[in-house]
Amino acid sequence: MDKILRINMGASGGPSQNIEEAGEFSALGGRATTSMIVAKEVPPDCHPLGAENKLVIAPGMLSGTTGAMSGRISVGCKSPLTGGIKESNAGGQPAQVMARLGYAAIIIEGKPASDDLYKIHIDKDKVTISVDNSLKLMDNYPLVEKLRKEYGDKAAYMSIGSAGERKMAAASIACTDPELRPSRHCGRGGVGAVMGAKQVKAIIFDDSGCTHRQPKNQEKFKAANRAYVEGIRKHAVSGEGLPAYGTNILTNVLNEAGGYPTRNFKTGFFEGGTKISGETQAELEIQRGGLATHGCHRGCVIQCSGIYNDKDGKFLTKQPEYETVWSHGGHCGIDDLDTIAMLDYLDDNIGVDTIEMGVAIGVAMDGGVIEFGDSEGAIRLVRDEVGKGTPLGRILGNGAEMTGKAFGVDRVPVVKGQALPAYDPRTVQGIGVTYATSTMGADHTAGYAVATNILKVGGDVDPLKPEGQVELSRNLQIATTAIDSTGMCLFIAFPILDQPETFDALLDMLGAFYGIKMTGDDVVALGKKVLTLEREFNQKAGFGAEDDRLPRFFKTEPLAPHNITFTVKDEELDELYNWS
């Protein structure tokens, strides 16, 4: 990964391209690369859909190698949803293929003067940027079908559906899985709208003639990879729970804990929870001839995904994840898995973030647009309104905050304009701290359970002190940022959290690949550096301490069944970024 591809969509005479040396980015990846480039090159006060914003795409540090779990792709830009910096990542095949093509990053800048729609084809010899107006307003599944006829089944595809072209703030960028389904999405923050603003419909990566990226120390890399895979396989979460039930294994437990936000965060328990749980979902998938265990990219050994077939045994969508099952399920009072799977498919096809879309529909339900629990109504809203770009669809497709304003709803679960994910912060106060303070807006992956006890980020935490919540959240955010920068799937967090030897194996892999010695301290330093840059970007974009807050109703409305409110004080939240 020694080069960066820079494409100026607004160059006079049509899009131009330039290959630059990757420099410091050749040994970086994922969120580190995207955020550093955005922080350096994008004016923080620019309009997210304007020519000055840039869409930066980066594979992980070990993407394109034989290293396991290394296929996350990161997309960065200024977010049209939050107005701050954004990194959104996804699985699928593009990271592996892009890395084998040798690109550490692709930077798409400028904006075409005409209304032409473009596709970008990248192979080992050249980059071809061409107008293809026949793709206008196509959605992801038919789009990829059409592109496959032209570019074949060896390629990996990134694309936007009609929502991206319509520049909806919930628009995602789809990445194809090993079966060439556009089912993996850089979902959060409206990155699809930025791609739409650049008038790029699809990027096609073809690595024919390329080989795996070679480590500096082959033997050491192989041995470390083996130990790393062993660690992942032997852990109860990554070796058993996730492969068997996927992330939706969480529904029952969150519901039991009274932390499952139900009907737009009104209570913490959904009576229909068992009907849409991961356990019920996996059983249904198996009965219908689908799969309860499936990898979103080659080289994934956890395989938390699956294949969801319809009643006739035909592919409907990939296994909906926990957040999707929640946003379209309990959040909307819907307890029917077939409805949720259909909504997952529609979201992927139209190209919108499943969390933002589901939360927006729940807010619309609260505003009286349709009733809570109206399955048909929810499908109609996504398919016929968002999918067709009607005025109502454009309101919903611009996210929960916009929907709340349009329908006069005073309970709108967003931070920095981004919808909260599937965990009520009143029940798990520490995650509320992360939602409030993350540079990304409310984000469940921002402060993941990553090895804080091993890394000792910021020192040991006394869990009994109230300020421990802030300290834990800070440590988690630093460590998560670092893992996001490696481009590894976050689900490696568990074997790493519990098994120091697996964490060491990951460091050894990175060290053997790049011929350097990596320590836990290096990882922490990287995480801090990236977070600091992101924070500074947001400050220059106009964010202050008052934006690091949860919506007030979390402080004032007790959540049943525990009847608790969010009690972490504002002054404590303000301490989060105080690190040396």
Partner: protein, 241 residues
């Protein structure tokens, strides 16, 4: 009293069902279903929602699981890493107390930040301190009913054995079980024994609405046509003959 298992049936029993469970019952009916082991999946929804068991109350969670339900301590400690007592995450199995009407949910380790915070005694337990379980000041012993909910891995591993031991179901739960199982249930059900009298499955399911009112209770036991340990893949008890 539930009859003890016949000696031959315990041969392949997994390590965690190593003790006898005796239940004082106050149920309206005793039902034994003779089922194909494939039909365990028909119980999954019920097991997630929770099944009731008559137990001695006033004991700790570990005592309930270990002494009363016969689940080996090593299994509890290693596999059941997330527990909720009355909706509250449990950190200490010895100080948490089972009361009449308690609801105990059992789960394996979970992904995600929140999954991790829920883990028993985990490093991130402080993040959910507001809902954590704290033991009562005073404990009274007696007998009563506990609802056990089984999620994910414990559902698959303990579930078959729990229903083999016997659980209390209402008429409406039993009817839902039979109705949801549909043709699969009819095919996989060899026979049913009702209060000691055996009848073909079809006859039982047809007559069920007249045998039991929705709110009546039955102690339902399942006899699987294949050793459950074979089905769950859990190794047999050490020293089991």
């Amino acid at each position: 009293m539930i009859p003890e298992r016949k000696p031959g049936r315990s041969a392949g029993a997994p390590v965690f069902f190593n003790r006898k469970l005796t239940m004082p019952t106050a149920v309206d009916l005793q039902v034994q279903l003779n089922l194909d082991s494939e039909l365990i999946s028909a119980f999954y929804l019920l097991l997630q929602k929770g099944v009731r068991l008559p137990v001695a109350t006033g004991c700790s969670v570990i005592k309930l699981l270990n002494d009363q339900l016969g689940i080996a301590e090593a299994y509890v400690l290693n596999r059941i890493t997330t527990l909720f007592l009355d909706g509250k995450p449990v950190d200490d199995l010895t100080s948490s107390v089972i009361d009449n009407g308690s609801v105990l949910a059992l789960s394996a380790a979970l992904p995600g930040l929140v999954g991790s915070t829920m883990r028993r005694g985990g490093h991130l337990a402080a993040m959910r301190e507001a809902i954590s379980y704290h033991p009562p000041q005073a404990v009274t012993t007696g007998s009563g009913t506990v609802t056990i909910k089984l999620f994910n891995i414990p559902m698959k591993e303990i579930g078959p054995l729990l229903v083999e031991r016997g659980v209390v179901l209402t008429g409406s739960e039993l009817m839902t079980l039979v109705a949801d199982g549909g043709a699969r249930f009819q095919k996989g059900c060899d026979s049913v024994t009702l209060n000691g009298r055996s009848s073909p499955c079809a006859e039982f399911t047809e007559q069920l609405p007249t045998i039991m009112a929705p709110q009546q209770t039955a102690l339902v036991k399942v006899r699987w046509n294949e050793a459950v340990s074979q089905r769950t893949g859990v190794p047999p008890a050490e020293g089991a003959s």
